[in-house]
Symmetry: C2
Subunit: 649 residues, 2 copies
């Protein structure tokens, strides 16, 4: 895709964006404020800009008079970039040079890191846990009348150097007919042991050569959503992917309420049935969409948190939520998928990701494996933020991990107008430093319905940096704008007026919302601090951050650092891996090396129960400020504050 | 029990018998003929003897006048021994000194060899494949919150030096509750791998200390009958044993007809269901009779021929009966008993005895293991005679095996009045050399209904040695007795007249019956010969014979040698082990060493397909005589014949 350069005047800010991007999103990326109230739908008519050089596609609206249009005015949210542009933000929207310097930093999201499949191949690590081998066996004679299965095993041994082989009963049942179907030409599916000492099992046989049909399923069993992929084991390619809400949601949003339900009579069985149902729905859809022969699927690798894993395996999770928080198990043997109720072939093995503890589960271990922290030199912070935040800090030599309850703020929960990252959610935000008018961008460019996690972070960071809210998260009561008001004793900022929204009510950000965010970010930051203290290091030692989870994809990193959610660091050193659990599951499906390493890694991962670590509460209280009681931990922000003070003098 | 000495006059033969034995059976054991037609029921009144010294219990009958009684006459079959006796056989029943010398050899049955459990203990081999271990685990704390299963595994490792442990999913499912039921005191059931490289699996856990309740089931899956035992793993004792006809019998008497039925649509599934049903009936009964807690049963070891094993496991046996006679498998992995449909705990593992080939199955391998041939120095012949006869020859250095179809003669099948060894079957026989009147002893001492295998052998051997039948098995047409007659062109000997029987018909032995026996013994003897020839040895090299199967228990060894079924040898060197398959299954249940050895043993057992071995047919034809075309192979018999000729001159 072509990219084009945009220059925004009078800021003299430049940015390069892909063809087709709207001018308003380009401005936002560049940190340039343009008033906008309708989320990008084109109905408020506020985002007027002048195209001084180049031309845009669209941008004309009844909100612009013919005269405006002739002067080059366009609506930024309706204008698509198709060549280099010089765009002027109209003079009425800003005041003087001092204000110019108050512009926000350009938007910086994390680099997205894809799984490096080629690297696996180059390093010779693309040896999947299952392999199909085709053999043309000699026909038995009176002199050579080995049992069918012994014939197969002998030739696997002789021709393919496979040892310690053992066949499933189902294979023994099939072999007399299957071996003779295509003149003793058969394909055997082998599943290798995690360690060399174990046995390699023959889990399936098919007549003829079916090595081209070799597939696996990777699955992330999330508390909220379950994702599955069909993967071609010959190429490593993802052939289909689908996500679906975990059917257990109706029995509780978070793991604790699921455990509570599981403790009721029949509750465990019910939750188990439901999650298996969701899994089967996803399997059905991805198998259909990928068009693969289901018989060719040999394994399903599943990663989930400890509670989800125990519910999946029908293991009572009761003691996960009771001190001292003991899971039933953290390592699971390979299990027949049909024994778990999965609608897959009788031969298919379910490989369940090992966990570390009750609150650092297989999903996080999968993320650690998928992201490769355990192989890096650099001290890395791995953060999977959802309702629960899991933190891993370490490198190839050591790994410390902890889980903390962040609350639902990052997923838009617990806010007055909070919502998930769905159509109509305000996902980005900017503020005119003088008029305090907002620039609102919603998912889907429609009128706003609410605020999602990334929008919330940006709002609070922007307001804090502009001095609209103080380091306690309270609005400056002296500001002269109708957007800041008191409502039943609670101060709030009106993001969009009633008639600009989809919901016929003012959409607001309240001080209580801000408080929730501060608590959530405080829990995470103090979790990191505590882990670091426990291992004798400090936050400045972190060289690399990896973000995982749905949360991380659109978050403005500078903003996340401004509110003190992430430690300050060059945004280039922050990587986003998306669904780390799914990535790890896929990786394990492709290379047996990961399955070998993972057992060592889980042993290496030292788990800290934050609630039992005395310094955690101190660190938490210290983190209940924007960005932190100790501003010295955020030197860049401190410098910006000092620069502004100087400017204002 | 006390034993008493009996002297039979005028033969001057002595024998020692246990208290309560009947005088007629004592005579038979001693080789002394007494006419008897009613099987021992006391109604024919022919077995009159005179008690010359000592007294008997019973023996009075309306068949004896008061005068007879006063003279000391008693009915031998009704007289029980309770002290030393001198018994005279009435003079009318024999003629002169030359006849006296024609008396039969004393009855010699094989020594019964029981499993030597004490030896296992002494040699430190009493380490069952499953073991229960009780542990008192420390309660988890915040500082020590290992997952439940890891806690168990760690302490098994630490306190009991158990390594490479892996837990079943069912154990993981139970552990959170079970471990807390009795304050972290639990009993784990471990199943050890066959070889050291494998994993030890934790298959069950129970709260508290249940090590005293540790049981196993051993089972012989015969084509005709299935036997099961409950065994106490702490003492090695058999707590209960039951046998039951294999329900598959209605679908064919022998393995070939079962295979034919299994090839019909749904046939395999049906035969599988039926055998599992019989197994479940036996399990239910032996569990009830032994009174054990079924939860304490951890394994079931099953031994059967290759066809029975495949039907048990629902593996198509189609190719077992087709050249080149290829079984699906000869080695089976441990299988969950519930996966086979057995009504046992979810944790119970079915351990299936490995086989050698399509016709040398797990039952024979079990017999080899149970009898210990594979550990002896002496060259041993192991013979399991049923409808199929399996032959193993060898010692600790090598083992050769073969199977041959003996036909049903040894089980009383295919004879005009043949029957299984059940009540009313003539099991023993003697003949008055002058009058040719028989002495008939039936199972249960009731009037005869037919002839069972051991009776048949004794009859033919006795008649052959007395010259009533020649070496082709034909009756001497010149003998003057109403008992030998022609009936529809076939000569026969009347064993019991119509009114002496239960069936209101004369019970006879025909030349066709004799022919069947000659073919059956010929098949076995020539099988042994052929095996020996193939390994470069001769029948004289055999130092020890082990008989297995229901057949061997009551057979008169001298008689079996006389007809050429067994090679001539000191009867002291013949051992009877009863159901070798069941004995091997029990042995394997008690010592894991057997499970380790058996894999090596099956590899060492060289199988010969007799039908593909050219010398077999020659050997077979040579063996279709009494005892054999080459009388020099039976030097003792030859000497007796020569002595008799000299006498008759």
């Amino acid at each position: 895709m072509s990219t084009y350069k945009l220059k925004f005047l009078p800021y003299d800010t430049e940015i390069t964006v892909p063809e087709g991007e709207t001018v308003i999103r380009a401005a936002l990326e560049a940190g340039v404020h343009v008033n906008a109230s309708c989320g990008g739908e084109g109905v408020c008519g506020k985002c007027r800009v002048i195209i001084e050089d180049g031309t845009v596609e669209g941008g004309i609206s009844e909100k612009l008079s013919q005269e405006d249009q002739d002067q080059g005015y366009r609506l930024a949210c309706q204008s698509a970039v198709k060549n280099d542009l010089v765009v002027r933000i109209p003079v009425e929207s800003f005041m003087d040079a001092s204000v110019l310097k108050m512009q926000a930093a350009p938007r910086r999201t994390a680099h997205i890191k894809e799984m490096n499949f080629e690297e696996l191949k180059e390093k010779g690590l693309f040896v999947a846990p299952v392999e199909k081998i085709c053999l043309e066996l000699p026909e038995p004679t009176a002199q050579d009348n080995l049992p069918d299965i012994t014939r197969l095993i002998s030739y696997l041994n002789l021709k393919h150097d496979e040892h310690r082989l053992e066949a499933d009963l189902s294979v023994i049942r099939k072999i007399p007919d299957v071996i003779r179907e295509d003149d003793f030409k058969i394909t055997a599916t082998l599943i290798r042991p995690v360690r060399n000492v174990g046995k390699t099992r023959i889990i399936n046989i098919e007549s003829g050569d079916t090595t081209a049909q070799s597939y696996t399923i990777a699955m992330d069993i999330g508390t909220t959503t379950i994702y599955g992929q069909v993967i071609d084991l010959n190429s490593g390619a993802v052939l289909a992917e689908e996500g679906e809400f975990n059917g257990q949601i109706s029995y509780g949003e978070d793991v604790i309420s699921r455990i509570v339900f599981a403790e009721k009579p029949g509750g465990l069985e019910k939750l188990n049935r439901i999650v298996i149902k969701t899994i089967n729905q996803i399997i059905k859809r991805i198998v259909k969409r990928s068009g693969v022969d289901p018989e060719g699927i040999s394994t399903i690798t599943l990663a989930g948190n400890t509670t989800m894993t125990q519910l999946l395996l029908k293991v009572n999770p009761r003691f996960i939520r009771r001190s001292p928080y003991v899971p039933a198990a953290t390592l699971y043997p390979p299990i027949k998928a049909t024994d778990l109720g999965m609608e897959l072939g009788e031969h298919v093995r379910a490989l369940v990701y090992p966990a570390v503890s009750s609150y650092v589960g297989g999903d996080i271990v999968a993320g650690v494996m998928g992201s490769g922290i355990y192989r890096t030199e650099a001290l890395t912070l791995y953060l999977d933020v959802g309702t629960n935040a899991e933190i891993v800090i370490g490198n190839k030599d050591w790994l410390a991990c902890a889980a903390c309850s962040a609350g639902p703020a990052f997923e838009g929960g617990g806010l007055k107008f909070g919502m998930r990252a769905a159509k109509g959610a305000i996902e980005d935000f900017s503020l005119d430093p003088v008029t305090l008018e907002p620039m609102i961008i919603t998912i889907g460019n429609v009128r706003p319905r609410g605020i999602c996690g990334s929008g919330l972070i940006t709002m609070v960071a922007t307001m804090f940096e502009m001095g609209i809210i103080n380091n306690l998260g309270k609005f400056d009561r002296d500001l002269d704008t109708p957007r800041i008001r008191e409502n039943n004793g609670v101060y709030e900022y009106v993001l969009a007026w009633k008639d600009e929204t989809q919901i016929d009510r003012d959409v607001v950000l309240t001080e209580i919302d801000i408080e929730n965010l501060i608590r959530a970010k405080g829990a995470i930051y103090s979790g990191c601090m505590t882990l670091l203290t426990e291992v004798g290091m400090s936050i400045q030692d972190i060289e690399h951050i990896i973000l995982a989870g749905g949360f991380g994809s659109y978050v403005d990193l500078e903003k996340a650092m401004t509110i003190g959610l992430l430690p300050e660091m060059d945004p280039d050193k922050v990587t986003f891996i998306g669904n780390g659990s799914l990535m790890g599951a896929r990786m394990s499906s492709l290379t047996n090396r990961i399955r070998k390493d993972v057992v060592e890694v889980t042993k290496k991962m030292t788990n800290f129960e934050l609630s039992d670590t005395p310094s955690y509460m101190d660190n938490y209280v210290a983190a209940l400020f924007l960005p932190h009681t100790d501003i010295n931990q955020f030197p860049k922000l401190k410098a910006r504050f000092e620069a502004r003070k100087k400017n204002q003098k």
